[in-house]
Symmetry: C2
Subunit: 247 residues, 2 copies
């Protein structure tokens, strides 16, 4: 039989999911942050991760479309503003494109998602479908990986600046912004989950939602690792160095 | 066989739908604007129409969740800002509640939607489902009733101020805002539709989407008319004068 956790114990259980399953533990991230990838491997990562970034506002709009409280929508709306920006040339998606620019990936090619690994697409779309189809509480809980992102971001920025001479501070502007945005978002979502997961069943659903989201992030790195590191077998149609130059 | 219309001819066809089917033609609106309803009939209208207002941001978030272009999402986002406001106490939903306040309908009761006519709920939800399930072009086209709203709003405001001593200018603040917001939104949507409905089939789909939306608005007035004017038979559970006072 499941027992009802205190809000503190629920938070601890959620943090434990992150400690065991967040993608900072993935071998690909260790290579990335340790400066041990080639420029082309970093390009593959930036190209694929673009799709995740680009779909975040769609995911957040799908969540907003399920919120019947204007006050809750106003808070959630800020996530869309952060990613889409206030005007052209602004926002998180644009800052991610600064990174792919810095890696000499043409924007048209990146935005077309032509060279995406199918597993990236499937994982990201699984996330969008999850927030659309599951309960609002589970949808909000699935965003809780933000709890763990400040750590990975600071490791990533310092590791990449130190490890790669082809990466500069301006190219990594995306992550500077996220260092303040992510904790604000995570604090709100954690508070919401602590308040609303008031039965053992809801608490288990919330923990499962965060586990699912960790799987979404982890499987993207699995696919990158398989395609571009070891054994290094990109599936048919996926980007290979130079593919971005072909019409 | 269908023929391809010029953008001008398509716009004319859309305006023709409005000229024949927009709800300003409905007998209930003629009574409302002509000052010929009782206070309770006006209350029934404001109570039911609240649900339409409250669901508009949900409808718009569902549309945004289908837009893959950040620039398009930024433009559409403004509709959500207009309805939800920038902060507590702001926005179109709040201004609608000023109207129901002015009609002595307790906010808790209005927001609970307990007294709603089932037909109101079904029509509004049909609209949300339409924009979620049909093409993005059809979803955008369904918003084109805004083309016709400045006319109805100005008739409504002057008619209601003249006709009802229980309605004041401040109570009608909602409509003042819409007089500037609606044309901006409609111009954008019309331009989008003119650009994107590039085959006879798409043009017919766009005309059908606007027709559908006119049906959504019209059927809400049919239900009000039936329940509260003639024959005046509210369905079981629907609001009747005084019901808002009962727990």
């Amino acid at each position: 039989m499941m027992e009802l956790l205190s809000p503190q114990a629920l938070e601890a259980a959620l943090r434990d999911v992150g400690a065991r399953r967040y993608h900072n533990l993935h071998p690909f991230h260790r290579l990335l942050h340790g400066g041990r990838l080639t420029r082309d491997q970093v390009r593959a990562w930036a190209l694929n991760r673009y799709y995740y970034q680009a779909m975040i506002p769609i995911k957040d709009a799908a969540i907003m479309a399920r919120m019947h409280d204007p006050a809750l929508r106003r808070i959630w709306r800020q996530r869309i503003v952060d990613h889409d920006g206030v005007e052209e040339g602004d926002g998180g998606i644009e800052r991610w494109l600064k990174l792919t620019d810095g890696l000499d990936l043409p924007r048209d090619y990146v935005v077309s998602t032509r060279g995406l690994l199918p597993a990236t697409r499937f994982a990201v779309e699984a996330y969008v479908h999850f927030v659309r189809d599951r309960s609002l509480l589970e949808a909000i809980a699935s965003s809780l990986t933000e709890l763990f992102s400040p750590k990975i971001i600071s490791e990533r920025v310092s590791g990449m600046l130190a490890g790669y001479d082809f990466i500069g501070r301006d190219t990594l502007a995306y992550f500077d912004k996220r260092l303040s945005q992510a904790p604000r978002d995570a604090d709100f979502a954690l508070d919401y989950v602590r308040q609303h997961a008031v039965t053992p069943e809801l608490q288990q659903a919330v923990i499962a939602a965060l586990t699912f989201k960790c799987d979404v992030l982890w499987s993207q790195l699995d696919a990158l690792h398989h395609a571009y590191v070891s054994p290094g077998l990109p599936p048919p149609g996926a980007w290979t160095p130079g593919a971005e130059q072909q019409a």
